[in-house]
Every structure is written in structure tokens, then in C-alpha cells.
């Protein structure tokens, strides 16, 4: 049976999660140099275009189609077959709305990976990669925990996506950074955020959307909805407080980029746990999740690993922490379902740990292989010169901040222009 209140909330929650994709574009776009913001933003926008379509074609079905293998779903729902206005089993909302809510997750997860490879990946290669990834990696992980797959059969608790979304993106990002390689200036020059105002606004909008992300993962109005909502308020507050305290201690000064990062890390940490743990435990998780993420985000830029915007540190690790934390702190008194180790159910911890092992392996390996395959067909990186000029101009033929000076209108469209590509097109342009 469809319920109005449940549907009203899920419509809103879905819209909120969809909004997170442009918010991520802004967050990431502020963190890169001015010559790369458009390309960075575009990688989020294109995830919307591409993943929506792959999700309709097969992604949704591969995640949520009933199967007996426990690994990947069937094609029962491919092309939106059997998805209509009837109630989604176990909920009081229509199947189509459930589909849309899940689509919003697949989109943003693909967009998240882009943070690892900004400022040098070729746009076409990224598009090809996320098309494959949204069919072969994300749905598999989602099937494991939500689609009736093996992890869910063992009762693994993952409220809003520690497995497919956070570890899924974080460990994929790490693999992508390895395959694509570092920016030429990494470790040689300071690569600073060009607009920290965008970063903090982006983080604020992400946090806003996250209330839909987490409290929407209850698929209606119930106790877990409220719990998830309140926990999404408390957990990042604790992360923010702890993160700023650490920065004050280490540098003498808490930073705005740090605050923005902390809010994201706190939201990630609570994502898997939102509907499972008590508000008090949520505050504790916020504090705990800060530590590994902070440490890795400090350490990573000093290495040769140019996982540029620290998707691994912020999402992969905090998601890992959250999943494990549930194993200790899940509390039937709050979630109505089951307890963690601290409340007597040690097996829960075991299976949460299994999820924390299997997910990174699959995400890392899957992304590694897919990107290598894409690399066989398309060059993955822009040329050195294009990287120096900037990906906005070379990949999109645009500048974010243009004054129009020195810009001469090209009046006659050269007849053969549309046959030229890349360098050739540029030369032709110059010769006009």
C-alpha cells in the first residue's frame, strides 16, 4: 500500500540526493585550479547524463533484480520492465520512486570517483569508464548489501551505502589514481584550491542533501528515518569539532578546507550507520571517524599518490570506519532490528568486517581492470602540453572566468571544421 507521507518524504529525499551531484561539482571545482574547474564540474554533470541511462538500461536491475547467485542481480527490471506504480516490497512507496531514489545514489557515486583523477584524465575516457563502472561495479556492490546478495543474506548492516557508495567510490578512486597516474606538477608545485568559498558552499549543500541521502534510506517515514536524520545532524558536528581541534593543535589554526572536509567525512561516517546506532553512538562515531581520515589526508599528498581530492581518505576510509563501527554499536533498542558486539551480538561485527574486506577488494580490482581496458581503446590522459594549458580549454574549449578581451568573433563557420579534431582543429582555428 502506498502512503502519502512516505511518498512525500521520498520524493523530497530523492530530489535532495540528486542536488548533491551539482553540489559535488562545486565542491570539487573549488578544490582544483582555476584552469580546471569546468572539466571537474563536468565530470559530475556527465555522471548524471550517463549513469541515469545505464541505470535504466540494466544498472538498476543488476543491483535489485532477484537472483540466486548472491553476486549480481538478474535482468528482470532492465529497461524499467516490471517497475510501475505498485508498492516496492517492504515499503509504502511506488517502485518507480524507489528506482529514482536508487538512481540518485548510482549517479553521485560515479561522480565521486572523478575527484581522484581531476586535471589530467581525458573527458571521453572518463565517460567511457563510468558507463562501464555503473554497470559492473556499483550494481554488484549494491546487490551484495541491498539487493539480496551474499552480504545481506548474512545480515550485514549498511544503512545508506557504506559499501556501494562510500567504499565503492573511495577504493575505486584509489585504483583510478594508480592507473591514470599523477599530475605532472604533483609533488613539484603547490596545487592549491582556487576558490575555497566554492568548497565550503559545496560542502554545505552536500550536507543539506545528505539528510535526504541518509533519512531517505529508510524508504518512508518510520523510526529509522528519524534516527537517521538526527544522526546525520550529530555525527558531522562531532567530526567538525574534533577535526578543528586537531588542526588547532597541529597547525595552530583550524582551516576552512579542513572544516568542509570534516563535514563530508562526518556525513560519510554516519552513512552506513545512520539508522542502526543511537544518537550518542553517532556523536562518538563522528569523533572516531575523524582520525583515520585526517591522518591519511595529511599523509597522502606527501607521497607519490596523486589521488587528487582525497576521495579515498574522505569516503573510502570513513565508510570503512562506519561499517565497522556498526558491528560494535548497532542497538536493537534504537533500530528495532539487531545488536552489535557491544550489545551482545558479536557475529554482527564479524560480518561487518567481512564487508570491509570484500568491498575494497572488489571496488579496487574492478576499477583497476575497467580503466586498463578503457585505456586500451582510448588514451586515458591528456598530453603534457594540454595539462599545462589546462583541461578546461583543451577538453572543453572554454574558460570559466573569461573577460572577452582578445577574443575575436569567428564569423564564418569553416565548412570542413566539423571533420577536424583536437590539434588539427586548433590549427585550423588559428589559420582562420
Amino acid at each position: 500500500m502506498i502512503r502519502g507521507g512516505d511518498s512525500a518524504w521520498m520524493l523530497m529525499a530523492t530530489a535532495l540526493v540528486l542536488m548533491m551531484t551539482p553540489a559535488l561539482g562545486l565542491f570539487y571545482g573549488g578544490l582544483v585550479r582555476a584552469k580546471s574547474i569546468l572539466n571537474t564540474f563536468m565530470m559530475s554533470l556527465v555522471a548524471f547524463g550517463v549513469v541515469t541511462i545505464t541505470w535504466v538500461l540494466a544498472g538498476y536491475s543488476l543491483a535489485f533484480g532477484h537472483s540466486s547467485n548472491g553476486f549480481i542481480g538478474s535482468l528482470h527490471f532492465a529497461l524499467l520492465q516490471h517497475v510501475g506504480f505498485g508498492a516496492q516490497p517492504g515499503t509504502h512507496i511506488p517502485q518507480l520512486l524507489f528506482f529514482a531514489f536508487q538512481a540518485s545514489f548510482a549517479i553521485i557515486t560515479a561522480a565521486l570517483i572523478s575527484g581522484a583523477v581531476v586535471e589530467r584524465i581525458r573527458f571521453g575516457a572518463f565517460v567511457a569508464f563510468i558507463a562501464l563502472w555503473s554497470l559492473l561495479v556499483y550494481p554488484v556492490l549494491a546487490h551484495w548489501v541491498w539487493g539480496g546478495g551474499w552480504l545481506s543474506q548474512h545480515g550485514v548492516m549498511d544503512f545508506a551505502g557504506g559499501v556501494p557508495v562510500e567504499m565503492g567510490s573511495g577504493f575505486s578512486a584509489l585504483a583510478a589514481a594508480f592507473v591514470v597516474g599523477k599530475r605532472r606538477d604533483h609533488g613539484r608545485q603547490a596545487l592549491l584550491p582556487h576558490n575555497v568559498a566554492y568548497v565550503v558552499l559545496g560542502a554545505g549543500l552536500l550536507w543539506f542533501g545528505w539528510f535526504g541521502f541518509n533519512a531517505g534510506s529508510a524508504f518512508g517515514i518510520n523510526h529509522q528515518t528519524i534516527l537517521a536524520f538526527v544522526n546525520t545532524l550529530l555525527c558531522p558536528a562531532a567530526t567538525l569539532a574534533v577535526w578543528m581541534a586537531i588542526e588547532a593543535k597541529v597547525n595552530g589554526r583550524p582551516t576552512a578546507v579542513g572544516a568542509a572536509t570534516a563535514i563530508v567525512v562526518g556525513c560519510v561516517g554516519i552513512t552506513p550507520a545512520a539508522g542502526w546506532i543511537s544518537p550518542a553512538a553517532s556523536l562518538l562515531l563522528g569523533a572516531v571517524a575523524a582520525l583515520p581520515s585526517y591522518a591519511v589526508i595529511q599523509w597522502r599528498p606527501k607521497t607519490r599518490i596523486d589521488e587528487s581530492l582525497d576521495v579515498f581518505g574522505a569516503h573510502g576510509l570513513a565508510g570503512f570506519t562506519g561499517i565497522l563501527f556498526i558491528g560494535f554499536f548497532a542497538q536493537r533498542g534504537w533500530n528495532g532490528v539487531g545488536d552489535g558486539a557491544l550489545f551482545g551480538h558479536v557475529a554482527q561485527l564479524g560480518w561487518q568486517a567481512v564487508a570491509d574486506l570484500a568491498t575494497p577488494l572488489y571496488a579496487f580490482a574492478g576499477t583497476f581492470v575497467l580503466l586498463k581496458l578503457v585505456g586500451l581503446v582510448l588514451p586515458l590522459r591528456v598530453s603534457e602540453t594540454e595539462e599545462a594549458i589546462g583541461v578546461d580549454v583543451t577538453q572543453h574549449g572554454e574558460e570559466a572566468y573569461s573577460t572577452g578581451e582578445g577574443a575575436i568573433l569567428v564569423k564564418v563557420e569553416p565548412p570542413r571544421e566539423h571533420k577536424l579534431r583536437g590539434a588539427a582543429a586548433k590549427k585550423a582555428g588559428a589559420a582562420l
Binding site: 592549491l192 589554526r253 579542513g258
Partner: protein
């Protein structure tokens, strides 16, 4: 004629401008620049990236004056821009061969402060 170039602290910009107006210097061109000098360097932190910032924001003035006016302009800037702390900046004076007012095509001293002052 002389071309006076000065680099001053941004927070003293308006003081310098006022000193120049008082000295009856009318034509002024100004831009935002970054300078490196004897000032203490700042350490900034962006996530795990820690950097030392060796440049500070400055404002650069460029003023063409007739020979007789050069000293007045230099004094005005020096007075308006001084705080006494390291980083106050420098004034450079170059010889200027020729000046043209685009609006009229007038050449030489007519185009610079104070002769032919524009208002």
C-alpha cells in the same frame, strides 16, 4: 618627463591616492600585484599540502609627470605609503621620452601632470 612607478601596501592605497590628489597629481594608473621582499613569509595549509607563501599582495602605481613634478609625486607616495614596518615598498623613477593623450593626440608634457592636467 618622468615615469614614477611605486609598489605599496594595499591597505595604504587610499592614503597614497589622497596624498597624490593633495599634491595635485591627476593622472594615475594603478594595479594589483604581488611582491616579494624582506617580509616574513606565511605558512598556509590546504589539507595535507603545506606551503610557504613568499609573495604578499601589493598595489602598483604608475604615474607620468613632468620633470619638475617628479619630486612632489615621490614625496606624496612616500608619505602616504609609509608605516615604518618592513614591506612598505619601493618607488622607482624612469625617464620618459614621450607621452601622448589618446583623446586629442597631444604629445609630450601636455599629456602629463601638471601641465594640461586633465581636470
Amino acid at each position: 618627463m618622468k615615469l614614477v612607478i611605486a609598489v605599496v601596501r594595499p591597505e595604504k592605497t587610499n592614503d597614497v591616492l589622497e596624498a597624490l590628489y593633495r599634491a595635485k597629481v591627476k593622472g594615475i594608473t594603478m594595479s594589483r600585484v604581488q611582491g616579494h621582499g624582506g617580509e616574513t613569509e606565511r605558512v598556509e595549509t590546504y589539507r595535507g599540502t603545506r606551503v610557504q607563501m613568499s609573495l604578499s599582495e601589493k598595489v602598483r602605481f604608475e604615474i607620468a609627470v613632468s620633470d619638475s613634478f617628479a619630486d612632489a609625486a615621490v614625496s606624496a607616495i612616500a608619505e602616504g605609503g609609509q608605516t615604518g614596518e618592513v614591506g612598505d615598498g619601493k618607488i622607482f623613477v624612469l625617464d620618459l621620452e614621450r607621452a601622448v593623450r589618446i583623446r586629442t593626440g597631444d604629445s609630450d608634457v601636455d599629456a602629463v601632470t601638471p601641465v594640461g592636467g586633465t581636470s
